[in-house]
Each structure stands twice: as structure tokens, then as C-alpha cells.
Symmetry: D3
Subunit: 341 residues, 6 copies
């Protein structure tokens, strides 16, 4: 772990090769395995409890369940998104708003919204577990939620690198690709960014390579270079840039997705919004969508939404009174309304 | 859960008595049990791994291990301390300082400092577990850390209500009372505050009633009323008020504690400091200690420190650049230096 | 008074029934009466002076006069709007802008804008006067302004609960109902909120029950639940939700109101604006109107505006440089331009 | 009025000499007189009510009553102190602290603390009343409080210019000079500052010239020039500069004042504190007193305190969470404890 | 110099006439001449080096070069724009964005963007040089940049007063008038503001009088009074007010300028944007353009852009994380893309 | 240049080896030489002018002249000190304080304080000049100031790396070592930090190696590791740690330095102060000096102060109202009083 927990096991593994015999290493590895297993068990039990609760209340066709993934270390610039999930939860239930969605669903009904808590990302990393395995733990956690009928995962990031293990899990669990609606200022489709294949700037390259998405629509794009456009072309991505948004609006407010595949997944990077509407992000890129633009796209989307994420909210850059936390929370609320039925 | 996670099971239990049969309730209760068990298992495994690591490195007489308890709901005023542990960790390892303590211990050495992560307080509450049981989970978690020789717990709060289950666990595990050095603007010794026996304003009444402390020294006191002084007298508390600090300084910079009992426990409420030094607290009470005053007391204390906590840091009131997080982190660092040997 | 002035008479009345004989109570009550009378006298004299000034300058058909109502205790969440009136005044006359309105009226001309100061809400409450009477004092104050030809009241809130006594006074003074254009994120039409019939969330239920408004148009609505829609239907309210604003814009930018009744009253809750444009509000509800949207509605409205209010600006949540104060001030300025003629 | 209420009568009087006949002017003047009279009546009635309340509860030898004077226009630099009184009141009763003073007085007891509200400074100025008369209104208001046995005034500024009319009133009402303990970074004793004899930098020159103080002790001084030292010498002021505070501490923590005169008046400019302890002031002057230094001086002072003020708190420069408001409030609380008996 | 450098030579010249003989004055004047000459030499050398660099890389038809003018003293209200240029540069190269423009130009290529640094405005003023000469130094600096083929100046303000010497230089150097596209909340066309002919509120009056612009289009206007409209008429300015922006949008997104004259100059006052998008400005004027509105106008403009400026960014009013700096930087980046070819 | 000006020549030199022939390189190098020469000429002319001014006014034995060095890139953590000099100047002359020092010197008198402006560090780096040469430019600039009798340099940093070229220049110009009083939280005496011999953490290693200081006293130290203490011992540094400040205070408030050498140089890192007193620094290290502690040391120091610096003020971490800028400014003011005579 770079910034958080430098004194942990990884630091040791790097710095003190001499003092660590093979025996020690194997002993540590067994301990790591037990920590990972216990982490997954905890998520399984929480998911089971929430699934049972929903079923006891009469069940639902689809029911949203929050899963937090407080991971920030795959960001190139700032790592604040690791602190986002508790802030978003606080804002969801904060006293300043009522608990209905804009179209009238009641969020306090567990059939609409439950919560299975966070993947213990920081603790796992502090135990010296590497990124390959961490990504698997995230995927496993998503599957554990989906295991419990009728729960569907709505993931609270974290940086955008988490969308790769999440969408992979959704697709693997459902047995085929989904259509992905991706709202973002950036395409996040570098082949590899600064040597990190799990970089938050590369997640959609991984998703497309893995065949987890059939169509990928990127909306809100306004920071893209030559490689971003070439990778988009290579993977057949439908890139809607802000430069032409006034022309594209008609299309984007009438989307129909997910037919013939396993459904629709929606990934919202909070920086798709103009920084005026969402200042609490790591990458300030003026010229973005208004909050109402985003809701118009969501409300009018036709399709069966099987999962979603809200990522890249950075509480360390938010206003003192947490305006962006409220924005992220309302995105979560309206997505929950879209998923649950 | 009041503010965080209002849509959880507790809300349901309160509001919909009719729809919940005994069968349902029992089914939910079993699920809660499994979540609690899994939570404790996860802490046990992390503690084991860190204990093993320390022993593999040659061991130590005493070794500090951090345990986060992100609990804020027993505060009468603001609940921000629930967000403190990850911010303190970030500040401990932040790039703006080196990793030596003032007297020269190296924090990157796991024999000096390890971390077993957080008790999943918010998830447990969101599953509808009540406060009696939650307090037991906290106590159990502390004991799981102490189980692993030579780890000693340094707890990151959370509000001050957590000191009760923590000190109870330390005393029970060691088999007798300890001496407690308590730095705070307030005595936190109400018999019961606003009807809540677990209130952060009552924790030291619980501790004294339980016989977990032989001597209790309270330093930095400057917001105390008649009941506070009477309770102090009733329990034989040694209350050092700020009004007389210039006279008491000599005594407080030459303390010798813990002889004849199981050792010394140090509980630092960040608001013992003047708000000039620590603005990020819920209760702004001018006229407190300087940071150097606190260090002078700690550095000169003689005694075997068997556990400690740093509580009531409220990141939602901190400066933009996290000055109070750095203050809390330095308290943790110097306490770790004091504990580890 | 809950937060502000806890040590006042009301506290006493609640807590020390024993020590207060009937004689004492009657003596206090007479004192309260004298304080209320003196408060109204002060407003009457200020209104007279300003009315005389306008008439000495040649008079006008209608002339706007500001009346502050620093009341925040009927808010369910935060009480900062009690501090708003002096901040709005400061922003109106602040050196960073000129004193012309967008369409060219000169605000420094007393025929366009005068000020009769604040109703001493906090002092009245601190003297133990209850809310029924306080609401009457507010109504009386509005009438005292209207007494002075050609003054028309533009009220600076305060939370939204003040619109009930203000509109009641306007309607009673004019002798019949008015049409009300109400810009807000919320309908504020609960029958009763948290047991408080004067709640800022219930004011428009009171107004409709009292028959003070013929038509009520609510614009900017985006936080409304089942009860809000039912109450709307019950009272025949025309609710324009943000979900359909792109469709409704045409209608809303061509309103013609007030014919056949006593005129038009405009009530602007600052949170009708998206929080990007007005962060200094108690209830952050993303997805609102832009500032230009509001001006387009106002500038194009046809009708005789007989009174108005700007409410729910919360300076305790504003940006450091007071951006929302400037926003509230510009709303006041453009409303003054609309009223005065 | 410069910034606040530029459109008022004064603006008119300055700019439009032509259009104002003598008749008009006399008519306006009568209106002003009625506004001033009504303002004083309102204060008289509030003072009467509070005095009666204290007497009904059994009376007291001396009882503190707050009087706000929201005046900021005599500052040379920033005018924020005009907004201070409501913020200080909010902090006095804020939920983050208990209502006992450090030595044990109970503030909720009206015999210890009542409140007569604010002099309507802004409204009076907006009606075109000039500074000579405004200063008299302030003096009259103080006397109206003192009229009601056993009330003693504790004035909430406002900038430091208000201490002149307040101390003048106290001295005139008591019939002789008082001793003044003045805590400040500046001596405020210019003969005339920037052409304004009522400047906040000249108030103590006015007080000494008027013979309202026998001894004047200035403590905390660290921004003083040649004129400041010469004026000090001329008036026999005892100036304690911060440069020698470590030497002077002994004397200042053992003061005995007010014997042989009418008592002691304490004037605390919040900037006597180092900006670390009180950042919310207009004049940041590093190197000042700690909060505890101030309390040590106050707690140990011997003498009959007949009045006091806390001035120059500037909420527009305070931290987001109002640390300086809490500091000003605690000064008020401890002063109230000192006055009431 | 008023605020910055009060102890400089100008202060002396004003205050101590007696002690300065003619000999001294002439000696000082020679020194000032040498400082001015050295300042221009430094700019010339930097421009030469950057021009040579571009030519060595193969040259370009037009290549943007930044020139900072940190001048704030001609503002009527706040002087923060004097600190803007280094903050804008920091934001241009900040790690949170890539270095491509929206339409694909690569900013790291010196043929697209170089930098010749700042005119040493503060040092020149501190040496006692007056405004007439300072304005000439600015004009000369612009010409020194244009001297180096193919460099074209993009000036970083500073307040808006700098556009006069800059546009004058561009026009004089090119040998005829240009068309000016001016985005701003204010027309800045007072004949003379507060006695200062160089005021930032008068620059476009100077430009039109001098014949430096053929057409002047003002876009975003929403704070304009009678004089502003009359001056506009007098000089034949095309004023597009925000009141009618929804009607004018079509025209403004299809501009064709600069034919028949020496090209197009674009002057962007950051406050043309709504304060929601650009809070870091001295004059908060709600109801402005969105960032995308501005880009749509720029991207669609047809014409040969020969120079530009971005002015009135005030870092002292920006958000903590510098949102407006990022906004100003993106304006600079997109302008550079427009100029360079 | 890393962050600021990435598109400059250095970037080019690194990235495009192929396209740059030897001819090009030599041509660029000549241009760089001319820029460096012009930069030094500008400083020489400003120093000459200021020296002449002082002499014309009658001269002085020693006269302080400010020289800004806006260099931040040798910091390991944050680079904000590059923006400090203009902020400190603004605070020195800001309207919130008078222009006398605590002991009575008048700063507006040019014999006490003049200013020769900034070394154009950013422009020089943007032209591709490397650090060796940049350090020489800084040294040369200091010597150019000292060339002009009776000017003595008071340097405004910048990060602490600048003290090396400055003290080197002072010593070389005077022809022998000086005594250095160094106030800091850190010893800055690493042999080499992160591979950078010019690092702000290594400057005093360079100074001691070069023999520029005879005695080096370090005061305020509280972040020091084993290497720091060993290097201290190696060079014979007198390190006064905060742990023992209460014991050392007597000595430090009675220092006598500079006898037998060329005088005393004072280097103040703003972080010697506790962050409560100076929050605007890159390295928050609680437990430091109070502002009065620093002044007591300075005021009582005996010795001929031949130069000084105030470094590591980071405006990007300061409070909104610039409290640390005021602190840095007051340090500068009191140092100027100490130097000038």
C-alpha cells in the first residue's frame, strides 16, 4: 500500500528480503489466505441476511443492494475516492431530503434498497495481498451479492479501476456480455497507464478485451487524446463527446439497451458532471453535463439494469458541506429506482 | 442506526411490527449471529497474521497494534468521529513527515507498529444488532488482539463511548484493574446522559462502576458541572482542571502509574487540546492544553502502558488540509512509542 | 427558543413551574405585551418614514420595501436562515456590482427600493412569546408596510414558514386571494411536519386552507413524495416538476397571472436553484433550475406583483465569499424591479 | 451608510440637495425622531421585562444582561463585526458545551444571565441618523439596562468604537469614573484616525478625555507606534506590551482594581488573543495571549465588575465551524460569571 | 503602489517632497529608466529563445506564446487578479488532465504553445514608475513577442485594464484595426471610472477611441447601466445581453470575424461565466454563460485569431482546490488551439 | 520543470533527442545565456536604484532589502512555496496593521526596508536552465544586493533549498563563515534526499560542507531521525529539540552570536512554529514553537545580523484569510528591524 499503511507487510516484503526465509513467507501466505477467506465470509453473511430480509417481506423482481469498494490506489493523481463509500451512505440517509426518488419509489423499503457493506480493501492490502488477488476478491464479492435472489449490486467506488472486476463478475455470473452505459469525462480506455494494467484509466480496455460488454456507450467525454480515440475505434466503442452534446442529446435521451444480451450495466464517473455541479472529484474538467442532463438520460433509458456503479467521488476535494456527496447520493438513489422492481 | 443507514433492519424492526412474525424475527436473528461471528473471525485472522509477523521478526516485549472502532452514534452532538480511523491512518503514513518518533523509534518496524483494521461497526449496526451486543463485539475484538502475544491494542475512535468496552476488555483480559490516565476537556462521567447509558459522556462512570480502573486521573478538564464534580468525588477520581494547570504542571509532568495493578491505560480525547491546536473536534472548548503540554506529560510518564485510545477526532470539522488528523496521528505515533518495547 | 437563547423566559416557563405563581406569570405576560407593542411601533415608524420619503420624491404607482424576518426555528434540519437578512442586504449594496437591474431600473432611487428593517424575531422569542403570536406579529408587520402607500413588501427570510403569515397578511390587507408563483425544490405542503403546523414544510398547506391563494404554481419541484402529490391534488396546485422542465419551459416562460384576483405574489425558495448555482441552502437537492432559468420566468411573467419573498438562504452553508448571498441579492433586485413601477 | 444600505436616506441627502426643500427635510427629521424614540422604547421594555424576571426569581446583588451593538462602520479595515452579536448568542447556547462556567455558575439561571437584544444600529443608520446621535442612542440603551436593578450590561460588539459610548454611559450612570481593564493587540488611543473621531482606533482617547476612567490598563499590546505610546503617556495609561509579558505575568494575574472609584469595567477586544486562538478578527496580529492567559487574568482579578464588552469578533473571517464564535462566547460566559453575584 | 509595496519609491515621492532635491529626482529617474530597459530586455530575450525554438522544430503558420501581466491595481473592488498568472500556468500543466485540446492539438509541442513569462509589473511599480509608462511597457512587451515569427500573444491577466495596452499593441504592430470578440458580464466601457482612465471598467472605451477595433462584440453582458448602453451605442458596439441569450445563441455559435481587417482578437473575462462555473472572480454576477456555451462559441468561430487574453481570474476568491484556475487554464488551452496552426 | 511549465524546453530536451542537432542545441544554449544575463541585469538595476535611494536619504549602517526566490521544486512533498513571495509582500503592507515594528522602527522608511523584487526562477527554469546554474543565479543575485552599500539581503522563499545558495553567497561576499541561527521543525541536513543534492532536506549539509557556517544552531527540531542526529554530530551542529525546549528556553532567549566571524545569518523555516500558529506549511508537525517564543529568541539575540531568510511558507495550505501570510510577514518585519540600523 503506498500511502495508506506504509508500515504493513508489503513494505516488509519489499525492504527486508534477508530476514524472511521461505518458511516465514509460507506462514505469512497462509495467514493472508485466512484473512481473504474471512473477508469473503463476512460479505456472504451480510448478503444472505439482506436477501432473506427482502424475501421475508414478499420479495421483488429485482432489488438493489449497495456494496462499497473503498479503493483509491489505482488513481494516477489523487487517492481520495478510497474514502467515498461512508460519505455517500451518510448523504443517502441525511436529514436534508426525503426518502422518495423523483418518480416515487420509497428507499426505506428494503425491497428497493439494502446494503451489504464494504469490501475491506484497505485491510486486505495492509495484509500484503497483491492487486491480482484483490481484484478477484472484488469480483467474488459482487457474485456473492448476486447469489442472493433478487439482489442486484450497486457498487460505491472507489476509483474507476473497480468497474473492471465488477463488470467482469456481473457478466460471468449472468453468463454473457451486457451493454454498458458509461458516463465520464474520460474514456478510461488506455491500453496501460503508467505501467499499471489495473489503472483507473484502463478499466474499459480490460472490460472490452474480456468480452464482458457488447455495446459500450461513453457519454460526457471531453478529455480524450489520440490513443483514447484509437482504442475507442479498435473496440467499437460509441463515444459521445461533449463537443457535440447539443446535437447528440436527442439520441441520448432515448436510449434502448440490453436487448439480446444479459441486460444493461451503468457506470457513472461523477466527473461526467461539470465541476460546477460536482466539484468533489480528482480531475476537474470543465464543460461537462448538468445534473439534470444525467437524470434525463437515466430516466428515459429503456432496458433491464442488472448492476451499476458510482465512482470517483473524492471527498477530500468536496465542499465543506459535502455538496458532491449529495450529488453522488442522488445518483445512487435514482439508479436504485431504476434497478429495483 | 440513526443517521447512517436509516433504511436498515432496525428501521424495519421499529416501524413494521405487524409484518414481522416470530418466525421471521428468529430467521433474521440467526443471520445477525452469523454476521457477528464472521466479523469477529475476520479480526481474529488479521490479529493472528500480524502477531505471527512480529514473532517471525524476532518478537518484542510489547508491540502496538492499531484497532479502529468507527463508532459515532453515542455522541450527543455530532457524529463525525465515525469517520476518523481511515483519516488517522492516512495521516500516520503521510509523506509530509518521517517515520521516527520524537525519541527515535522507527514506526515502519512491525515490532513497533502493526494494524489489525477496523471493527465493522457500521455494517453490524446496519444489520440491526443492538448496542449491548455491539459493545460486546468491541470488547471481544480488543481481546482477540491481546490474545496474540506481544500485541497490545491502540484503539482509534470513534467517539468516547468506546473507551468503556475497550478498557473493560483490557482489564478482564489482564485479570484486574489498571490505572487510567485520561486527557480530556470533559470528565465524561455522567451517570447517564440523555437516557443513554453508553453515551460518550458516561463512559468513565461505567468504567469506575465496573472496577476496571484503580486510579483515574483526568487532565485538561474545563467543561464540568456540579454532577461532574460530584461523580468525580463519588468514584475517587483525581480531576486536574485547566484552571489550575500552571500549578499542577509539575505533578503531571512527573507521573508514575500502574504499580500494583495490571498496568497503565491512556485515553486521549483530542479535545483535551485547545481548539487552536486541534480544531477538528465536535466540542470546541477554548482554554485547553498545547500539543507540547500533552507530549511532556506522555514522555515523562513512568509505567507499563498496556493499552491506549485516541478518540473524538471529527474529520468533518477539521481544516481543509487535515491539521487535526496530523495531530491525532502524532498522538498515535508517540503512544505507540510509549507502548512498544 | 431551541438553539438560540436557551436561557430565556421560555426555558424558565418550561422548567420551573413550581417557582412561578400566577401573579408572576401575569406580570411577565404584561411585559411581553409591552415588548410586542414596542416592536410593532418601531416597524410602523420605519414604514412611515420610508413611505413619506417616497411620496416626497414624487411617489410611484408601486414601490418595493424590504422587510427582514430572521426566523429559522421552523426548519426541520438547519436553522441558519435566521441569519440571512443582514447578509442579503450587504450583498445588495456590495461594491462588486452596479445598482441597475438587468432591464435598467435604478435601485438607489427610493421610489424603486427602500428598507424598513427586520421584525425583531429573536428578541420576541427570547421574551417567551409563543409561535402563534409571533406569526401574528409577522402578519401585522407586513400590513404596517402596506399601510404606507405606495410601499409593497418584499420579505427577506428566514425559513419558508414565514410565507404563511406574509401571504395571509397580503391577502387580508388587499381583501381577497392572490395568485402565487412558488419556486422551490419542495412543495412545502405537508399537512403537518414533525408535529409542527407552522413547519417550513407545511406553509403552503396553511395558505391553501386559508383561501389566501387562488392559483398556486409550484416550479422547480424535485423532492416530493406521495403525500406531497396528494396534497397538491387536494388543493388544486399546479405542480411543475423538474423531471419535465424541458417540456414545461415554454409555458413557464410565458406566464400571465393575477387577473381577476388581487394580484400576484412570488415566493422564491433559494433551493429552487440547482446547488451548483446556490450552494448556501439547508437542503441540497441536485437537478434544479439555473439562475438564468429563474430570471427568464420572472422577466417574462405578466401580472401585477403585490408582494414577494426570498427565503431559505442559509449563510452558514454559503461559500467563503458569499456566492449564494449574491444570488439571493440578485433575486431581490430583480423582484424589486418587477414590483416597483 | 457606506456598504450596508447605500440606497437609504443618507445617500439621498448627500446626492440630491436640489430636490429636498427645507419642508421635506424637517418632515424627514421628525420621522427620524420617532424611529429613534421607538428604538429606545423597545430596549426599555425588554430591559424592564428581564429585570422583573430576575426580581421575581428572588433577585441578585448583580445580574448580567447582554446588549448587542451590531456596529461595524467605524472600522478602518473590515466591517464584519456588525454581524457578530447573533453569532455569539448562537455559540453561547450551542449544544456542544454545557451551561456551567469554569468555576461553577449556572448560565441558564436568569439571575446569572439575561439578554435584552440588540440596539437596531443598522435600521437607525438606514433612516439617515448621523453618528453623533447613534452614539447617544447606544449610551441611552446602556443606561436603560442599568436602570433595571440588578442588571449590569455586558455588551456584544460591534467594533471597538462602541466602548466609548458604553463606558461613558456606565460612568455617567454611576456618577463617577471606573477603572478599565482593556485587553487588546492595539491601544486604540489615536487622537483621531483617518479623520473619524469615533474610529475604533480612537475610542480610548475619547474615554480618557471624558474622564470616564481613572486607571486604564492595556494588556496584550503588540501593534503600537510612536503616537500610541505618546498618547498612552499623556493619559497616564498603564500599557503592558506582549514583548514583556513573561515578566509582567505575575502582576497581571494578581490585579486588584476599582477601589475608590465606581468599580471595574472590562473591555475585551478578541484580537488580544493570538490569531491561532482567535482567527476570526479583522486585524491578524501574531504573538498574542493564549486563551488560558486571558482566563487566568480574569479569574484572579479582584474588584466589583460593573460592566463589560466583547468586541471586534468578525464572523466573516472565522473558520467554517465558528471556532472564534465559541471563543467569544466563552469570554462572554466567564465575564458573566465575574459580574453576576 | 497602494496595497503592494507601500514602502516603495512612490510613497516617498508623495510624502517627502522636502528631502528630495531635483538632483535626487533626476538620479532616481535614471535608475528607473535602467530598470524599465532591463525589464524589456529580459522579455525580448525570452521571446527570442522561444521563437528560435519553434523555428528549429520546423516552424508553424501561427504559434501561441503566453505572456503574463500580473496587474491588479486598476480594479475598483479587489486586486487579486495580480496573482493569477502563476496559478493559471500551474493549472495548465497540472497532473489532473491530459495535454490534448478537445479537438486534438497537443499542447506539449512548442509549435502549439510556448511561454515568455511575466512582465515584472510589481517590480516596475515598486520602483515608482507611473501608470502611463507601465501601460507602454505592457504594449512594448506584446510587440516584442509578435516580433518573433510565428509567435502570437495569449496574455494572462491581471485585471481587464490590461486589454487596452495589449490590443493597442496588436493593432499597431499589425498596422490596422482588428475585430474583437469580448466575453464578459460587464461592458467595461465607462468613459472614466472613479477618476481612473486606465480603470478595468474603461478599457474598451480606450480601445474604441483609439480605433484599434473595427467591430466589438460583447457577449455575456448582464451588469450594465444607462452609461454602459449609451457608450455602446456611441461606439457602435454589438452588445449581446444574457437576457436574450436563448434567442442570440444561434448567431453567436456561428460567428465569422476578422475579414477585411487584421484578424480577430478574443478577450475573455472569466466572469462571463456564471459564478457556478467560475466562482474565483472579483465580481459575482449570477446568470452567466455555462462553460460549454463559451466553448461552443469559440469552437465554431471562423476567423484568423491574432491574439487573445484571459483576465480577471482572482485566485483569492477561488475554491480551495482551484476550480476556477482549472477553468481559466482550459480557456487558455482551447484559445491556444484556436490560435496555433 | 516538473509541474510548472511541462511544455517548456526541458521537456523537449528530454523527449526529442533525435530532432535536435548539435547546432540547434548550441543555438538554444546561447539563448539561455542571454536570458540568464538579462535576469541578472534586471536585479542589478533594481538593487542599484534601491541602494541609491537609501544613500540619497542619508544612508544607514545597515539597511534591509527584500529579495524573492519563488522556487518550490526541491521540495519532497508539496511545491506551494514557489508562490509565497508575492503573498508575503501583500501581507507586509496590508491595511490590517500599522507599519511600526514591535520595538518601534518605521518600515516605510526606505533606510529600514526596500525591495529588489524576485529572481525570475520560473522563467529561467522554463527556458531549460538546469539546477546547478539556477543555484548560481540565486547566489549571484544575493551578491548583487550586497554590492550596493548598505543593503543587506532578507530573502523570501521558496522552499528551504534556497538557503544553501544564499548563505554561500553571503559568506563568499563577506570573505568568511558566519554563525547561523536556524529555526525549523526539521534539521534539513540529509546527505542527499531522494537523490537530489539540492533537496530542501539537504541544504544545511551543503552549507556545512562548504564551510560557510562556523556555528549552526538548530531550534524547534521535532522531526528528526537517526541520520539527522548523526549528520548533526558529524558537523558539530547544536541541535535544540522541542522535547527539551522548556529546559533550553533560558539559553535560547540569551544568545550571543557572530563574534569572531563575519556576523550572524538567521534562517526561519515557518514550520518551526506549531501548526496552530502557522497552518500554511507543507509539513504539519505538531508540538512546535509559539510565535512569541520565536520573537523572544529574536528580540534578545545579540549579534550583527548580515542576512536572513523566511522560507517554506506554502500559500496553498494557508487559511482562507491568509493567517500564515501575516505570520510570515511579521517575521520579515521583525527581522528587518533586527538587521537595519
Amino acid at each position: 500500500m503506498l500511502k495508506i499503511g506504509q508500515g504493513g507487510i508489503r513494505h516488509l516484503q519489499r525492504s527486508s528480503t534477508a530476514s524472511f526465509t521461505t518458511v516465514s513467507a509460507s506462514s505469512i501466505e497462509k495467514g493472508q489466505n485466512r484473512v481473504v477467506d474471512a473477508s469473503l465470509t463476512l460479505i456472504r453473511e451480510r448478503a444472505k441476511l439482506k436477501g432473506e430480509l427482502v424475501r421475508l417481506l414478499g420479495g421483488a423482481k429485482a432489488s438493489t443492494s449497495l456494496l462499497g469498494v473503498p479503493l483509491g490506489h489505482n488513481s494516477s493523481f489523487l487517492q481520495g475516492p478510497a474514502f467515498a463509500p461512508p460519505r455517500i451512505r451518510e448523504a443517502i440517509w441525511c436529514g436534508s431530503t426525503n426518502s422518495s426518488t423523483e418518480e416515487g419509489k420509497e428507499l426505506k423499503d428494503p425491497r428497493v434498497l439494502t446494503d451489504v457493506g464494504d469490501v475491506p480493501v484497505q485491510e486486505i492490502r495492509d495484509c500484503g495481498v497483491d492487486d491480482d488477488r484483490l481484484m478477484n476478491v472484488i469480483s467474488e464479492s459482487v457474485k456473492l451479492v448476486m447469489e442472493e435472489e433478487p439482489l442486484r449490486p450497486l457498487v460505491l467506488g472507489g476509483d474507476h479501476s473497480i468497474s473492471y472486476p465488477v463488470i467482469r463478475a456481473v457478466s460471468e455470473k449472468l453468463g454473457g456480455p451486457v451493454d454498458v452505459l458509461h458516463l465520464d469525462a474520460h474514456p478510461d480506455i488506455y491500453d496501460c497507464f503508467e505501467g499499471n494494467k489495473y489503472s483507473h484509466a484502463s478499466s474499459f480496455a480490460r472490460i472490452m478485451e474480456g468480452g464482458y460488454a457488447r455495446r459500450l456507450l461513453q457519454v460526457g467525454i471531453r478529455s480524450i487524446n489520440k490513443e483514447g480515440r484509437e482504442q475507442g475505434k479498435r473496440f467499437g466503442v460509441e463515444q459521445y463527446e461533449m463537443r457535440t452534446f447539443s446535437r447528440d442529446r436527442e439520441v441520448l435521451e432515448n436510449l434502448k439497451l440490453g436487448e439480446g444480451v444479459k441486460g444493461v450495466y451503468i457506470s457513472i464517473d461523477v466527473d461526467c458532471l461539470d465541476p460546477a455541479f460536482a466539484p468533489g472529484v480528482s480531475h476537474i474538467e470543465p464543460g461537462g453535463l448538468s445534473f439534470r442532463d444525467v437524470l434525463n438520460i437515466l430516466h428515459n433509458l429503456q432496458g433491464d439494469v442488472v448492476g451499476a456503479d458510482v465512482v470517483e467521488f473524492n471527498p477530500q476535494r468536496d465542499t465543506v458541506d459535502g455538496m458532491t456527496a449529495m450529488v453522488a447520493a442522488k445518483l445512487v438513489r435514482e439508479l436504485a429506482a431504476k434497478i429495483s422492481k
